[in-house]
Structure formats: C-alpha cells, structure tokens
Symmetry: C2
Subunit: 162 residues, 2 copies
C-alpha cells in the first residue's frame, strides 16, 4: 500500500508547487493507476477541483462507467464531505488514507460517510498509510504559506479560507 | 421562492426526457440565475454529473470564484452527501429544497451536512417548496421506468442502481 500512497504523495507535491493545499489522490484498478488528481481549487477557481474528484472523473473515463467497482483510492488526507460522498456515489471498494483531517474529515473524524449502512454502498477504509509523510507535506506547506504571507505576496484571505 | 423552484423543476424535466432521474437545480445571485443543472449521471457516465454539481460549476464560472457567497440554490430533491458537501465547500448562503430523500438525503434526512457547526461554513435550509410538484416528477418517472423495464428495453440494473 505504501507504494501506491507514494504515487498519491507525488500528486500532492504537484499541488504544493502551485501554492495549493497539497492533497493528492490516485485510483488503482487491477494493479494499474487509472486516475490521478491533485488539489487545484484556487487555480481552477472550482469547488470541484479537489484531488479526489479529479481522480474519480479520470478513472470513470478509463473504465467507461461512473461505477468504479473493484477500485481503490489512495489519498494523502482524509476526504471532506463532498469527496467522501463522491467516493460512495462512485461505488469505490476501498479508500486508503494517509493522514486524518480532524477539522473536516468525513471518513471517521467528523462523520464516516464512507461506511454507513444507511447508504446503498459502503466503502472499506484503511488509515495511517505513510501518515508521517502525508502530514509533513501539509505542515511544511502551511509553514511556507505563513512565511509568504509575512511578505504580503498573497492575499491573507487565502490562508483564512484553508 | 416558488418562481425559482419552477425553474429548477424545468431542469429536472430535461433529465426525465433523457431517462435520467429527474432532479434539477438552479443557483440565484442578486435576482439572476447564474447556474443551472440537471442530472446526467448515466448519459455522461460521470458521478459528478449530478444537477447540483453542474449548477455549482456553472455559477463559479459566472462569478469567477469557487466561493458562491450570497447565492441560493433551489433544488427539486434533497441533496446526496456528495452534493451537500459541495454546497458547503462552495459557501452557498442558502439551499431551498423541493422534496426530501429519506434514503440518502444529507440536508436533514440521514445527516444535515449543510448546517453543522463543526464545519467552517453553515448553509440555511428551507424545505417543502413546491413539494408536491417535485415529488410527483420523481414518482411519475419511476412509474414510467417500471413500465419500460417490462418491455425489456433497458438494462434492469439501471433501476436497481437508483
């Protein structure tokens, strides 16, 4: 699982390079990566440009169906409610998470939307894979962002919004 | 509010015409419709092609920002977890709902993701606007679908998936 999470981390690093919160995701089907995504919410000015949704959209194109049965997502940070809901809707089998998001995560922290028997699909959840690497990627990004903010090179609101 | 919900119902009818579950949504900002969407999940083979997400994406393009502050969504059926999460992420002010979805709705039925103080944004929720028209649009669609299924013109799995 570490091997795949490293691929998700690579995606997260692409986000950091463009000053986006570094979250990356990949989707694996039968030993192949069929979807990749990294957070681009600010650069694309789109709520839907979260890593997980981009990876789901790409995987659906490869599979030719919105149903991603037999697929596993590897994501560096616990999904938000939108992304957790999309994972259930897309019928993924399993989600492997790097580090948890205690403020807004919906795979165990605030809710566990992924594994709720009231919905018509349940997703297996594995947590803590490459936890330190995923958490460090986030903390280093925010440290850099605070330093950049001191120089007033970016809108302060950007940080408040995170 | 009824006037706007009728516009959302018009969107829902577009979905019914292409044999998609008839759910429609619009987004209103300063008295103007800036986003419209209808469910196209099967025809676009995309989990993300729910009415609400399509409307959010369109509205973001009009506003030029992922933040849809000051905006209200009118949606014919209570949003699923993915769409409710997207509404919170997009920072909409208010969501006006036609009819509830007791099986999967996340604006009061299973959860209320829209108005949870643990998230960094809360959305006002109004329910039951044009309730009968929205509920009838759904029940008539499923009645037609069952009749079509009897003729074996469509894949039975389609109905099971709904």
């Amino acid at each position: 699982m570490e091997k795949w999470m490293e691929e998700a981390i690579k995606e997260g690093k692409k986000a950091a390079k463009i000053m986006e919160v570094p979250i990356g995701a990949i989707i694996v089907h039968e030993g192949q990566i069929i979807g990749r995504g990294y957070n681009q919410r600010n650069s694309k000015k789109s709520t839907l440009a979260h890593a997980e949704l981009i990876a789901i959209e790409e995987a659906s194109k490869v599979i030719g169906d919105w149903r991603l049965e037999g697929c596993t997502m590897y994501v560096t940070v616990e999904p938000c409610p939108m992304c957790a809901g999309a994972i259930v809707q897309a019928r993924l089998d399993k989600v492997v998470i790097g580090t948890m998001n205690l403020k807004a995560g919906c795979a165990g922290s605030i809710y566990n939307l992924l594994d709720d028997s009231r919905f018509n699909h349940q997703v297996s959840v594995v947590t803590g894979v490459c936890q330190e690497a995923c958490a460090t990627m986030m903390s280093e990004f925010f440290k850099t962002l605070r330093e950049v903010k001191k120089t007033d090179k970016i809108d302060g609101r950007f940080i408040e919004e995170l």
